[in-house]
C-alpha cells in the first residue's frame, strides 16, 4: 500500500540538481547530479550528507549493481566511473574505458559482469573486469538523411543479453549486445522516449515519453503456445501532460513521474487479484506536508516556497448570507511581505506565531527568527540576532498558542524549546528527548492551548508527550503500526487527536495517559469504508473553540468537520451526505445526521484551518495554476483541432 508511509521530503539545494538516484547496500540512497557530486542521503535526519566529487564533470546517470556494492556513474566527459559502497560513504574504484560523448544512462547486467551505457548516437557495453569497451553500437546507423543527433535517454540490460534503449527519435530498440545487431525496433512516439523500466521477470517494460504518454511493452509468444516470443507494445497510458522523466515497474503496477509534478500509479489489472485498493489508479500531486501556516488571531497566512516565504493578511467582509453565496469583500487580502531565504538551500519548514508577530524558518544549515511589527498599514520586519545554536536542520516549527515560546523539532527525537522575548530576542529554555532516545528526527509537533503539553512525533512514528511546566517527559502514546500524518491537542480537553496514514483516527487523553472513550468506541465500530479507502492522508487537524465536540480534518480533496456528539456512520450509510441533507426538510435531517460532515467543494486543498467558531480559511492550489507555470509540453496535434 503506497500511502503506508507519507513521503518524507529532503529539501533541495539550488546548485545541486539531482539527475539520478539509486538504492545501494540495503537501504542507502545515493543521488548524483549536474553539480558533479555523488551524495548520500541521511534518511534518518532527512538531509544530504557526505558529497563526493565524481571528478568527471556533471553526472548524468548512476546505477548500482545487483548486490548494491558498487555504483557506476556516467559523466559529461564520457567516462564511466565505478565506486565501491563502503560503510559511511563511497570510495572511487576505477575508470572504465573513456570515449567522447556524455554518458546519459547506465545499466548493469544482472550478473554484474557488464555495463551498458547510452550516449549520443551510440551505446556501449563495458566489461566490468577489464574495463574495456567490448561493444559499440551506433543507434542511428540507418537514419543518415536526418542529421539530428540521436540521444539514448534510457537503457536496460536484460539477463538474456538483450540491451533495451529508448531514444530521442521516439524509438524503443532491442539489441543483441554480443553481435551488435538490432533485434527489434518500435517507434512509439514522434518525440523522445525519456525513461524506461523493466519488470523483475523481464517480461514487461514501461517507457515514458516527452508527450506525457507511457507505454507498456510485453514479451509475448508470437502465436498461442509458440516458443518464439516478441516484444509487443501493449498498453498506452496518458496520465501526464509533460515529460515523463521517471518510470518504475512494480510487480502489480506501472509507476510514472513527470515534469507536471504528478506521481501516477497505474495498476496492471491482470496482476491484481481482487478488486480493491490496489486495483485503482492513484495520482499524487502534492507533498503531504504543511506548507502553509496560519496566525489565527492576527488572521495572517504564511506561505512557504522553496526559497522564499510570503505573508498575507486575509480579506474581510461585513455581510452575511445564505449557503453558497459569495460575499462582497470589504477589505481585499493584502500581501504584507516576502522574505527571501539567503543562500542556495531550500527551506525545510516555517511558521508564523498565532499573534502574527513572529516568523521563523529553517534551512538545512540555518535557523532564522524574525519579529514582525505592524504600524497602521505598514509592516516592518526585524531579524532576531543571536538565535541559540541548535542542532540543525529543524524539521518542524511550532509556536505556543500565547506566542511566548517556539518549539523546534530536531534530529534524534529532540525538541528544543525557545523562549521568545520582547522586543525581539530569544533564549534556549530546554531540549526534550525521548527517554529511550531515537535515531529519527521529529517531524510533527503539537502543543496544547494552555501551554501545558507538547506532543512530538518522530520518524519511528512514536508519539511522545512532554510536560512544559516542569520540562519533563510525560508519556508515550501506545505505538501504532502506521505513520502519523497529523496531530493536534484539543484546547479544552487536552485530548490529543491523531490521524494515521491508514486513515484511522485516535483520541488520546494526555492528562489521563489513555485513549478516550470516544476513541475506543471508534475503534470498536470501525470507520466508514469510504473514509478508509481515501488515498490522501489527513494533513491538518484543528478544533472549534466554541464547540468542543467539533474536530476539523482535511486532506487534499476534502475537509471534514467531525462532530463527536453524533453517531458514526455505518458502511451502508452515505458518507458524503451533505448535498442529500440539504434537500431534506429539517425534521427528516435529524435521522440522517452522522459524525462526518464532509465538504469537497474546495480542491485540491493545500491547507484548511479554523479562524474562529464560524470562520474557516481554505487554501486551494488549482492544478491548472501549476501547469501554466511549467514549460510548455511538446506540442502535439490533437485530433480535430
Amino acid at each position: 500500500r503506497v500511502t503506508g508511509v507519507p513521503p518524507q521530503v529532503i529539501p533541495g539545494h539550488e546548485a545541486r540538481s539531482v539527475e539520478a538516484l539509486c538504492w545501494a547496500a540495503g537501504e542507502r540512497l545515493f543521488g548524483a547530479g549536474l553539480g558533479g557530486d555523488i551524495t548520500e542521503y541521511d534518511l534518518a535526519r532527512l538531509r544530504a550528507a557526505r558529497p563526493v566529487d565524481g571528478c568527471g564533470g556533471p553526472i548524468w546517470s548512476m546505477a548500482a549493481n545487483s548486490s548494491g556494492s558498487q555504483l557506476a556513474i556516467g559523466c559529461e566527459d564520457g567516462s564511466v566511473k565505478l565506486f565501491q559502497v563502503v560503510p559511511g560513504g563511497i570510495q572511487f574504484e576505477r575508470n572504465l574505458d573513456r570515449r567522447k560523448g556524455r554518458i546519459l544512462c547506465l545499466s548493469w547486467h544482472p550478473s554484474d559482469t557488464h555495463i551498458a551505457a547510452g550516449s549520443i548516437d551510440a551505446l556501449r557495453v563495458f566489461n566490468v573486469c577489464s574495463g574495456q569497451t567490448v561493444q559499440r553500437i551506433m543507434v542511428n546507423y540507418h537514419v543518415q538523411k536526418v542529421k539530428r543527433e540521436c540521444i539514448v535517454w534510457s537503457i536496460a540490460f536484460l539477463s538474456s543479453g538483450t540491451v533495451v534503449t529508448s531514444d530521442s527519435f521516439g524509438r524503443v530498440q532491442f539489441w543483441d549486445w554480443e553481435r551488435g545487431t538490432l533485434l527489434e525496433s518500435h517507434t512509439v512516439s514522434t518525440s523522445a522516449v525519456l525513461s524506461l523500466a523493466v519488470s523483475e521477470e523481464e517480461d514487461s517494460i514501461v517507457v515514458g515519453t516527452s508527450t506525457g504518454a507511457t507505454y507498456q511493452f510485453q514479451l509475448l509468444p508470437v502465436k498461442m503456445g509458440s516458443l518464439e516470443k516478441r516484444w509487443v507494445r501493449t498498453k498506452p497510458f496518458q496520465h501526464h501532460t509533460h515529460d515523463v522523466r521517471a518510470v518504475a515497474h512494480s510487480s502489480t503496477a506501472l509507476i510514472s513521474g513527470g515534469l507536471d509534478a504528478q506521481l501516477v500509479i497505474r495498476p496492471l489489472m491482470e496482476k491484481v487479484q481482487k478488486k480493491g485498493y490496489d486495483a485503482v489508479l492513484r495520482k499524487f500531486t502534492f507533498p503531504h506536508r504543511r506548507l502553509v501556516s496560519c496566525a489565527r488571531k492576527a488572521r495572517l497566512l504564511l506561505f512557504q516556497f522553496s526559497q522564499h516565504l510570503e505573508l498575507w493578511r486575509l480579506g474581510s467582509t461585513d455581510e452575511t448570507g445564505k449557503d453558497g453565496e459569495v460575499l462582497p469583500l470589504r477589505r481585499m487580502p493584502e500581501h504584507l511581505l516576502q522574505l527571501k531565504s539567503k543562500g542556495p538551500e531550500h527551506i525545510y519548514c516555517s511558521c508564523v506565531s498565532p499573534c502574527g508577530t513572529w516568523v521563523a524558518y529553517s534551512t538545512a544549515s540555518r535557523f532564522h527568527l524574525y519579529r514582525v511589527q505592524y504600524e497602521g498599514d505598514g509592516v516592518s520586519i526585524k531579524k532576531v540576532p543571536k538565535v541559540p545554536k541548535l542542532l540543525l536542520p529543524a524539521y518542524q516549527l511550532q509556536f505556543s498558542s500565547d506566542s511566548s515560546s517556539l518549539f523546534v523539532a530536531a534530529a534524534r527525537g529532540s525538541v528544543h524549546v525557545l523562549q521568545l522575548l520582547e522586543p525581539g530576542g530569544c533564549k534556549h529554555l530546554h531540549t526534550f528527548q525521548p527517554p529511550s532516545g531515537s535515531p529519527e528526527a521529529v517531524y510533527l509537533l503539537a502543543s496544547s492551548a494552555d501551554g501545558h503539553w507538547l506532543a512530538a512525533v518522530g520518524g519511528d512514528w512514536a508519539i511522545h508527550t512532554y510536560n512544559l511546566k516542569c520540562f519533563k517527559h510525560h508519556c508515550a502514546v501506545p505505538t501504532y503500526s502506521c505513520a502519523v500524518t497529523a496531530l493536534a491537542v484539543h484546547p479544552v480537553t487536552n485530548n490529543l487527536v491523531i490521524a494515521y496514514s491508514d486513515q484511522q483516527l485516535f483520541e488520546f487523553s494526555i492528562p489521563e495517559k489513555q485513549y478516550t472513550a470516544w476513541s475506543r468506541m471508534v475503534q470498536n465500530c470501525g470507520l466508514h469504508k469510504v473514509w478508509l479507502e481515501r488515498d490522501s492522508p489527513i494533513t491538518h487537524i484543528a478544533f472549534n473553540p466554541k464547540n468542543p465536540s467539533h474536530i476539523l480534518l482535511h486532506d487534499t480533496y476534502m475537509f471534514c468537520v467531525l462532530d463527536k456528539s453524533l453517531p458514526l456512520p455505518d458502511d451502508s450509510a452515505l458518507l458524503m451526505n451533505q448535498s442529500t441533507l440539504k434537500q431534506l426538510p429539517e425534521t427528516a435531517r435529524q435521522r440522517q445526521l452522522h459524525a462526518f460532515k464532509i465538504c469537497k467543494k474546495f480542491q485540491p486543498l493545500l491547507f484548511a484551518d479554523l479562524l474562529d467558531e464560524n470562520c474557516l480559511v481554505m487554501v486551494e492550489r488549482p492544478i491548472m495554476d501549476i501547469k501554466t507555470q511549467l514549460p510548455l509540453p511538446i506540442q502535439q496535434k490533437k485530433f480535430g483541432t
Partner: protein, 673 residues
C-alpha cells in the same frame, strides 16, 4: 539491417569453388557446404579453418542441399537423386541413381508435410519443363510435365504446401504469374501427367510491365515479386513489389535504384535481398485482403494519376475486380470479338473505334431492335472514351428517337440502367423524361428526379401531378425505390416498435419524452389523421423524389397553381405528415437515405399554401387539416421561443459561473449540516 557485421566468415582454399548455397542444420547448429560439386564440408560456429573441418567426397554432383526445420538436411543431386544427409554420410561413396536423363534442374524446394520431407524440383529439356515431387520416406517419385506455353517459358518458381496440395507459382517470361496445383497423395503410377496452369496475376501497372526475376508467396492473397519495372520510354527501374492476387492489384512497391542480384528470400515476415552492395532486410505485413484496402492502396500507389473509374458492368465475375488497366484490355478484347460478330452480321462494316459515334448511330438506325440494343450496350460499356458523357447523351437520344418513331418500343430496363449508372443530366437527353412521363414509367422518373440536377420546374410539376394522380393500386404493382421512406413510414403491417429510433447527444427516451410531453400529448390526439401516412409507401417515395429535386420558386409557383385542388390537399396532407414525423425527433431529421429534410418539407408546404391558399380555405375537407397545421406550428413556435429563453438563462448562468471561477480570493458562505 542497420548495422551489418559479419558474425562469422569461412573460406575455401584457392581454386576450390563453392557450388551450392551453404545451409544450416538447425538441429545440430552445423553448416553444410559443397565445393567442387562433390565435396561436402560440415562445420560448426566455433570452427575457424574450413580446410580442417569434416569432409566427405560424394560420388555424384550435388545440385542443392535443403535444410528442414524438423528432420535433417536433404541433398538433391544433379541427376535428380535425393538422399537425406544422414543416409549419405553413412556411405559417402554410395551410388546415386540418375532419375532425369538429359534434363537440367532449374529449381528445387523442400517441405515437411505430415512429418515427412517432400522435395519438389523443376527441370528443363528442350523448352519442356517438368516437375518432380519426391516423397523421401515413401521413396516415391512423381514426374509431371508442365503445360506448354506458346511463347514464354518459366523464369522463376515458388511453391507452398497446404492440405496435401502443392501450389506451384511460376513466373513466366510474358510477365504473368501462373498457378499450378499438384496433389501430393498420388498413388497411381501414371506416366507423366500434364499439369495445367491457370493465370494468377498479370504483372502490369498502368502501362508499364514488371519484368519479374523472382517471386515469393506471402500469404494466400499476396505475393512479392522482385523485378524491373519498364516504363514506356523510360529506363527500367528495379523494384520490389507486393501484389494482391485476389483483387489483382499492386499493393505496394519499393524502388531499388542501386540494383539487385535478382534474388529474393523471405523468412519470418522479412524480405532479404541484395541492394547495391548491402543486404537489405525489409519487414512486411500483409493485412487481410479486402476490396476496400486493395482499391484504397491503389489510390496511394503509382496508379493514382489514372482515374479510378471502374466499369462495373463489364465485370463478369465480381471476384475478378481487375485494376483499371487490365479492365481496359478485357473490355477491348470483348469488343473486338463483338466486332467480329457484327461483321458477320454485316451491320457495321468498320471497327467502332475508328467510327464516330454519330456515324455508328446512323448506321444502326435501321438495325433490328436487339442488334441496336446490343450495339448501344457495348458503346455504353466503353468507359474510357474521351467525351463519354456526350456519347451517352447521343445513345439515350437515339433510344428515345426510336421510341418516338416506334410507339411499341420502350427499353425500360436499359434506360433505367443507363440513368442509374451514368452521370447524366436533363439537358443531355431532354426528351427522356417526356417519354417516361408519357409511358408513366415512374421508377425512371424517380431515378431521374434523384439524379438530374437540372430538371425544369415544368417537368418537376408534371411529375408531381402524375405521381399524385396515379392510383395506389397501380403503384403497388410497380417497382419503386423505397429507401427514402422505409425507415419512417407506418405501413400497416409495420408495428411501431420496428421504427428505428435515433437518439442523439446523450438524450434518452425518457428525457425526450419529458421535453415533448408538454406539447405532443395534446397534439397526438388532435391530429389523429396526421398520424398515419395519407399515401402508400410507393407514392411517398415518388413524392420524396419530387421534394428532393432542385427548383426555383418563381418558376415553380405558376405551374403549381394548376394542380387540382384534391391533389393539392393530398400533397399538403402528406407534407404535414412528414412535418410531424420530423418534429418527433430531437434532431428533426427523418431517418433513411434520401429522405426529405425539414427545410425541403417546409419550403414545399409554404409553396403549396401560397399557390392554393384561397382554394384551401374554401375547401371543407382542407379546413380541419389547415387548423391542425396551424395549431401544430403555433405549438412549435412557442416551444422554440421557450427554448430560446432557457438558452439565454443558461448562458447567463454560465457567465456567472465563469466569473466566479476567475476569482482567486473570495469569502463564501458554507453551511454544514
Amino acid at each position: 539491417v542497420s548495422d551489418q557485421k559479419p558474425l562469422g566468415c569461412w573460406s575455401v582454399k584457392h581454386g576450390q569453388i563453392i557450388t551450392c548455397p551453404v545451409v544450416c542444420n538447425f538441429e545440430t547448429g552445423e553448416y553444410i557446404a559443397v565445393h567442387d560439386d562433390k565435396v561436402l564440408r560440415i562445420w560448426k560456429n566455433k570452427d575457424v579453418n574450413l580446410d580442417k573441418v569434416f569432409k566427405a567426397t560424394l560420388s555424384a554432383d550435388v545440385y542443392r542441399i535443403h535444410s528442414l526445420p524438423h528432420g535433417g538436411p536433404v541433398v538433391l543431386f544433379k541427376g535428380g537423386g535425393v538422399r537425406t544427409l544422414d543416409v549419405l554420410l553413412e556411405a559417402p561413396q554410395q551410388e546415386i541413381e540418375n532419375v532425369i536423363s538429359d534434363e537440367v534442374i532449374k529449381w528445387s524446394e523442400a517441405f515437411t508435410e505430415g512429418q515427412q520431407p517432400v522435395l519438389i524440383f523443376a527441370t528443363e529439356k528442350d523448352g519442356d519443363f517438368f516437375v518432380y515431387v519426391q516423397k523421401l520416406k515413401m521413396n516415391s517419385l512423381h514426374k509431371y510435365k508442365l503445360e506448354q506455353h506458346e511463347l514464354s517459358k518459366p523464369l522463376s518458381f515458388t511453391a507452398h504446401i497446404k492440405n496435401q496440395v502443392v501450389t506451384l507459382l511460376c513466373l513466366y517470361s510474358n510477365d504473368s504469374v501462373y498457378k499450378v496445383l499438384i496433389p501430393l497423395h498420388q498413388n497411381t503410377e501414371e506416366e507423366e501427367q500434364i499439369l495445367s496452369k491457370s493465370l494468377l496475376l498479370n504483372l502490369s501497372v498502368s502501362g508499364s510491365v514488371l519484368k519479374g526475376t523472382s517471386l515469393v508467396v506471402l500469404d494466400k492473397d499476396h505475393i512479392a515479386v522482385l523485378g524491373s519495372l519498364a516504363l514506356s520510354g523510360e529506363e527500367s527501374k528495379e523494384c520490389l513489389t507486393i501484389w494482391n492476387t485476389k483483387f489483382q492489384t499492386l499493393q505496394t512497391s519499393k524502388e531499388l535504384p542501386l540494383g539487385t542480384s535478382g534474388q529474393l528470400w523471405c523468412y519470418e515476415e522479412k524480405f532479404f535481398f541484395t541492394h547495391g552492395k548491402v543486404l537489405t532486410v525489409i519487414m512486411y505485413k500483409c493485412e487481410t485482403s479486402s476490396l476496400a484496402a486493395a482499391v484504397g492502396k491503389l489510390k496511394d500507389s503509382q496508379t493514382s494519376d489514372v482515374s479510378s473509374f471502374v466499369n462495373w458492368n463489364t465485370l463478369g465475375d465480381e471476384e475478378l475486380v481487375v485494376s483499371f488497366q487490365s479492365q481496359q484490355s478485357v473490355a477491348l478484347k470483348s469488343e473486338s470479338k463483338m466486332t467480329l460478330r457484327s461483321k458477320r452480321n454485316a451491320v457495321a462494316k468498320v471497327q467502332p473505334d475508328t467510327l464516330s459515334v454519330g456515324q455508328l448511330l446512323l448506321n444502326l438506325k435501321d438495325a433490328s431492335t436487339t442488334v441496336f440494343e446490343d450495339e448501344l450496350r457495348q458503346l455504353v460499356s466503353k468507359a474510357q472514351m474521351p467525351d463519354f458523357q456526350a456519347t451517352i447523351g447521343c445513345v439515350v437520344t437515339a433510344l428515345i428517337n426510336r421510341c418516338k418513331t416506334n410507339p411499341k418500343y420502350y427499353p425500360r430496363n436499359f434506360l433505367l440502367q443507363i440513368v442509374q449508372t451514368r452521370d447524366l443530366s436533363y439537358s443531355l437527353c431532354p426528351d427522356l423524361m417526356a417519354v417516361a412521363l408519357e409511358k408513366k414509367d415512374v421508377h425512371l422518373l424517380q431515378t431521374c428526379l434523384q439524379r438530374f440536377p437540372d430538371i425544369p420546374e415544368e417537368i418537376t410539376y408534371t411529375c408531381l401531378k402524375v405521381f399524385l394522380s396515379i392510383s395506389e393500386a397501380y403503384l403497388q404493382r410497380i417497382d419503386v425505390n423505397l429507401e427514402s421512406v422505409i425507415c419512417y413510414i407506418d405501413i400497416e403491417f409495420n408495428n411501431k416498435e420496428v421504427k428505428t429510433e435515433i437518439v442523439e447527444n446523450g438524450f434518452n427516451a425518457e428525457l425526450e419524452q419529458d421535453i415533448w410531453n408538454t406539447k405532443i400529448t395534446k397534439e397526438t390526439h388532435l391530429m389523429a389523421d396526421g398520424e398515419f401516412c395519407p399515401v402508400g409507401p410507393q407514392k411517398a417515395a415518388l413524392l420524396n423524389a419530387v421534394l428532393h429535386s432542385a427548383y426555383s420558386e418563381t418558376f415553380l409557383l405558376p405551374h403549381l397553381k394548376n394542380l387540382p385542388a384534391q391533389q393539392a390537399v393530398l400533397f399538403l396532407r402528406y407534407l404535414y405528415y412528414l412535418y410531424v414525423k420530423c418534429s418527433e425527433k430531437i434532431n428533426t431529421t427523418l431517418p433513411g437515405i434520401r429522405s426529405p429534410t425539414i427545410n425541403q418539407i417546409m419550403d414545399w408546404m409554404c409553396l403549396l399554401l401560397d399557390a392554393h391558399f384561397t382554394v384551401m380555405v374554401m375547401l371543407p375537407e382542407a379546413k380541419q387539416l389547415l387548423s391542425n397545421l396551424h395549431k401544430f406550428v403555433r405549438a412549435q413556435v412557442r416551444f422554440y421561443s421557450e427554448l430560446n429563453k432557457i438558452e439565454g438563462s443558461l448562458r447567463e448562468l454560465q457567465r456567472l459561473n465563469h466569473q466566479k471561477d476567475s476569482q482567486t480570493y473570495s469569502i463564501e458562505v458554507l453551511e454544514l449540516i
